[in-house]
Structure formats: structure tokens, C-alpha cells
Amino acid sequence: MPVVQVKNLSKIFGKNSKKATRLLDEGLSKDEILKKTGNTVGVNRASFDVEEGEIFVIMGLSGSGKSTLVRLVNRLIEPTEGSVLIDGKDLATMDSKSLREVRREKLSMVFQRFGLFPHRTVLENAEFGLEVQGMDKEERKKKAQKSLELVGLGDYVNQYPGQLSGGMQQRVGLARALANDPEVLLMDEAFSALDPLIRKEMQDELLELQESMKKTILFITHDLDEALRIGDRIALMKDGRIVQIGTPEEILVNPANDYVEKFVQDVDRSKVLTAENIMKRPETVDIEKHGPRTALERMRKEGLSSIYVTDAKRRLYGYVTADDVSEATKEEVKDLKDILRTEVPKVDKTTSMHEIFNIIHDTAVPIAVMEDEKLVGIIVRGAVIAALAGNEVNINGIDS
């Protein structure tokens, strides 16, 4: 069962939200409703599930309702309609006492501008959630200390937040959230206030922490590169509505509509696309069955200057070039093994395009794409360039 289930969640700001809700049902847009009723639609019937242990990114530009949405999930903002189920219990209709308990035990939040208490030391900040729960002093100190060590701030416990840099402050924010050992971590533009280098460092660290923690994380961001980098799945929002939910690849390769397509067209695809996305079906010859003559024929037919040699189980042996093969036919060489070249540029199918650049630069033959020692595809120069330009991406290469 998903840890977080959001169903038809809406938020309409302003008085008399009933009328606006009705207009929403009639399918009017955010602007039309603002004109007619004076109400602002924050979130428009959002539904999604977050599975245990995944990083679910909600991504949108400012005003898209993403920050409102995350605040509806822990009910810092009262929802107008819909439900938020955490472990199957609906937060939206809960009394304030149960809500407090859920916030204390199951949800923690990291804020864009850190939300640290300036009058408390780093340790006291990290202790806050535990202190609120009424945990005794020694125990909470120990847990907070451990949590701070996890984010690399074990030596800064007695400093005040004002004495730390932005990146360090956000580590404190993260440590404070983790000290509670929550089931779900809500991160509201957690890295957006940091400068680009620190942001990337924090993203890496979060991913590294996630390897061992396996928390369920709901991550809000306006930065598509960030979303693609850390998200297991991404929900794209526009005007309070979720326009597409999918893995980074699905969103890049298969945009649900013009908006998403426009949005993703400037993305640095090299960071997201993998060998699998741009490879072609390989032309091969069988080392046991075929001789130089067959190889030459195939190359001629396909217009190739080289061809990969495998066995029946698609295990890769190497390649032969057109020159070598035509020479071999003249000299009556019968076996491909005699002219086989084995220095093959190989990549795994999960290799990112970024790395493929370097390899393709140095090689004259297409790159072999491997999976479990088997040849599953080849990559030619043209495919790399086409993928970067954002077209002709071969989605057939995806196994699903």
C-alpha cells in the first residue's frame, strides 16, 4: 500500500469557496474562476500515490500550487476538498489531537529558507521535534546528535544557526527532520535557496542518505534538472493541476501535452537519457554460422563499414570491418575468427549519455550496448546528436 495517498485534493483560497468548487467541477480554468468569484485556485483536484521508499518530486513553476500542495499534505493549509491518507488514515478530516500525533511521528518537513529557530543552538534545533514529543533530555540529545552526525555537522552542535552558511543551515534543517525518524519526509524547495554548487552537493548527499535510509520523500522543486536528478517519479504541476506523473524518462521522452513538452525542451538531456534510450537494434553476424561472405553481404545491404560478431546467445565476440572482410573473401579465409577485432567500445545499457560522449569521440565503430554480457544494441554518432537535439529518441529500446 502506498504510504501517502492523495485523492482529489483541492484548495481554493478566499471566501465562498463553494461556488468556486462548483465552477471547478464545470471545468473552468483558474483564471476564469478568479474573474468570476475572486477566489484563487491553489490546488485543483490533485491525486497521486507515493510508494514506500521512493522520492516523489512535485515540480512546477512559481504559482503552480506545488508549495500549497505540500502544505495540504501535512495540513499546514486546510484543504477545501479531498483527502490525504497517511498509512490509510485521512489527515484532512482528523481532529487536531490526532493530527498533532501524525505530524510528530510520521511527517517531518524541511523548509526552503530552512525555518531554523535562531534562538536555539544547532543541537537544540535538531532536538525540537523530539522535545515537542516530550522525550527526555538525555535520549533526545543522543538522537539529535546522531542525526547531526549523519549530515556531517557533528562538530557544530553548540553553534547558532546564524553562524552557519546556507548549506550548513539546511543540513541542520534536514537533521531536525530526520531526528524524528519520520515515515515521510516533506521537502519544500529544500535546496532552492542554495547556490548551484552547494545545491548539487546536497542533492548528491540526499541520494546517498536515501540509499541507506529508504525514506518516503515528497520533494518539491521548481528546478527541472533537480527533479530529473533525484526523482524516482515526478509529478508536473501547472495552474494547480497535475499535468503528468511519470519517471524522469517518461516525462522527457513522452511528454503528456504541449506544456510538458515545452517545459522539457531545454533540459540537458545528456544527464537523463541513457544508452538504452538512444541505441539501435544491432546488425550482427553469428560467429559459428556465418563466414566473411555473409558478413560482407549484410554490410553492403545496410550500408555499414563494420559489423558486430556474436554467437547464438548474443554474446559479443568483437567486430569485423568491411575492408578486412573483402580482403578475406579474396584470400579465401573461411573463418571470421581470423579477422576478428576485439577492442570493442562497450557501455552498459544504463550508462548516461554524458559518459557516452567521451567514448564515442574516440571510436570509429558504433558503441556496443551491453546487458549481462549480451549485446542489446549499438549507438552511432548520429543518434547521440539527434537525442541531444530532442528528437528521434528511440523509445522502443525501453524494455517495458
Binding site: H119, G129, Y160
Partner: protein, 283 residues
């Protein structure tokens, strides 16, 4: 204009005051007698029994530590208090100090909770704001009249009038301080599941401390400014000496007593300001 006769507002107020005086006589009498005795005990049997040199020394040492081990304030304390003693105004100073201390304490005890209530409740804020304006703009002399009606003359009505005049800044600044706490910190507090009381004591009040202390400083200064006015209804102290100077057209006496008030004001002001520091502040 002629259609409506003069409204008997003055009579209504007088009647209401009379009714209050009669109805709560037991309470007023209790405050007048027991609280009055306590104030007198505090001033005469405590403060005035301390040897003057010891008093000055203790205040000077406190000043040294309060002003973060700088020398200016302690020097001022020693010379200022010595001067007052030299002018044979020590008893008056102790009485004035007592009046200010009690008026300020009561103002803070009343003011801070009202400030909190105002910050937490929009309706209360809307209702209290004009009341506070009224309390501060009404000429302070006016408070002397019901004060005398309730508590006759002496220190107690002086404290009463001072409290009414001096409370508003504490209420206002407490309200302001709590409302100024950034939205994100309130969200952070809520997100970790704080109760209302936890949020107040762990986040809002500590964060608002500086502003609240500034309000308290204002309250103390206003209480001091009531010293002369309160002496018109028999509150003992430096104010009384000023009034005597006025009545006898004796500029010198009035000026020296006035100087005593200024010295006391400066000392109290520097003490409260220096005590106003916040943890985690970047200097």
C-alpha cells in the same frame, strides 16, 4: 444642534465611578490597606534600611556586569546616587523607586498576557487597540480622580494611575513581537506537531523577547514619568519635592529633585536595555 440637549456624560461617568466605589469597596479597601502596607514596608523597612554605601556599591557592581563589564554605567551609578544622597533626597529616591518598581511590575504582569491574547486573537486585537490608544492619550491627570475615589490618597492610588498609563506599551510590543515571528518558523513549529502552549513558549515568546523587552523598557519609563503627577495625590518621593518647589516658587529645590528623577531614569533605562539580549543574535 439645539434639538439634542447636552448629554450628561460627566454624570454617567461619576455615577459609574460611585457605583464601582460602593460595590467593590471591600476589594478597594483590601488593596488600599494591605497592599499599601506592603509598599510602605518595602520602601521603609527594606530599601531604606540598607546602608546607603552598600546600596550604591551593589547597584554599581550589578551595573558593571549588566553593561558587559564596561566602566561607564557603574561610574555614572556611583556619582549619580552619591549626588542624590548628598542632596539629602535618599528617602525620596527610595519611595520613587518603589513606586516605579510596583507600577512597572503590575503593568508587565497585566500587559504581557493581554499582549499574547491580542496576538492570538484577531477580535481581541481589534477591540483592545482603541482601548490602548485611549489609555495613552487621555491626560494622565484624569486617572488621578478615580484613583482617589477608589483608594483615597497615598502610594496605592499613585501606583494605580501609573499602571493605567504605563501598561499599553507592554501590551502593544508583546502583540507586535509575537506577530513579527516569521511565518516559516510558525509553520516549522506546527509541522513538528506543537501544541498552542509549546508554540508560544518554545518559539513565539523567545523570538519576541527583544521586542517585548523594548515594550517593558517603555513601560518603566512611562511609570517614571508618572512620578510627579502621582505625587499630587500624595504618593511620596522625588515628585513631592518637585511639587513643593513649584508651590513655593523655589526653582533650586524643584530642579535638584528633577535631576534626581533624571538620574534614576537613566540608570533604570540602561539596566533594562542592557538586559535585552537575545540568544543566537549576531553582533
Amino acid at each position: 444642534m439645539e434639538l439634542i440637549p447636552k448629554l450628561p456624560v460627566a454624570e454617567w461617568i461619576s455615577d459609574a465611578t460611585d457605583w464601582l466605589t460602593d460595590t467593590f469597596e471591600f476589594l478597594f479597601d483590601f488593596v488600599k490597606n494591605d497592599f499599601g502596607d506592603f509598599i510602605e514596608f518595602f520602601a521603609e523597612s527594606l530599601l531604606m534600611q540598607i546602608p546607603i554605601w552598600l546600596f550604591i556599591a551593589v547597584v554599581a557592581v550589578l551595573a558593571f556586569f549588566v553593561s558587559k563589564k564596561r566602566i561607564g554605567l557603574p561610574v555614572f551609578v556611583i556619582f549619580g546616587l552619591w549626588f542624590i544622597q548628598n542632596q539629602e533626597l535618599w528617602e525620596e529616591l527610595m519611595n520613587t523607586f518603589t513606586l516605579v518598581i510596583f507600577a512597572s511590575l503590575i503593568s508587565v504582569i497585566i500587559g504581557v498576557p493581554f499582549g499574547i491574547w491580542m496576538a492570538k486573537n484577531k477580535v481581541v486585537e481589534t477591540l483592545l487597540t482603541p482601548v490602548l490608544d485611549f489609555m495613552q492619550t487621555m491626560p494622565a491627570f484624569v486617572y488621578l480622580i478615580p484613583a482617589v475615589a477608589f483608594f483615597s490618597i497615598g502610594m496605592v492610588p499613585g501606583v494605580f494611575a501609573s499602571v493605567i498609563f504605563a501598561t499599553p506599551p507592554t501590551v502593544r510590543f508583546t502583540n507586535l513581537g509575537i506577530r513579527q515571528v516569521s511565518h516559516e518558523l510558525i509553520e516549522a513549529s506546527d509541522a513538528f506537531g506543537t501544541t498552542g502552549a509549546q508554540k508560544l513558549f518554545k518559539v513565539q515568546l523567545p523570538m519576541a523577547k527583544k521586542t517585548i523587552m523594548a515594550g517593558i523598557n517603555q513601560t518603566v519609563m512611562l511609570a517614571l514619568s508618572m512620578v510627579v503627577i502621582a505625587s499630587m495625590i500624595g504618593a511620596k518621593g522625588l515628585g513631592q519635592t518637585v511639587i513643593t518647589g513649584l508651590q513655593r516658587a523655589d526653582v533650586g529645590t524643584g530642579f535638584v529633585a528633577g535631576l534626581g528623577i533624571v538620574i534614576l531614569a537613566i540608570i533604570i533605562d540602561r539596566f533594562t536595555q542592557n538586559l535585552n539580549t537575545q540568544r543566537g543574535d549576531q553582533s
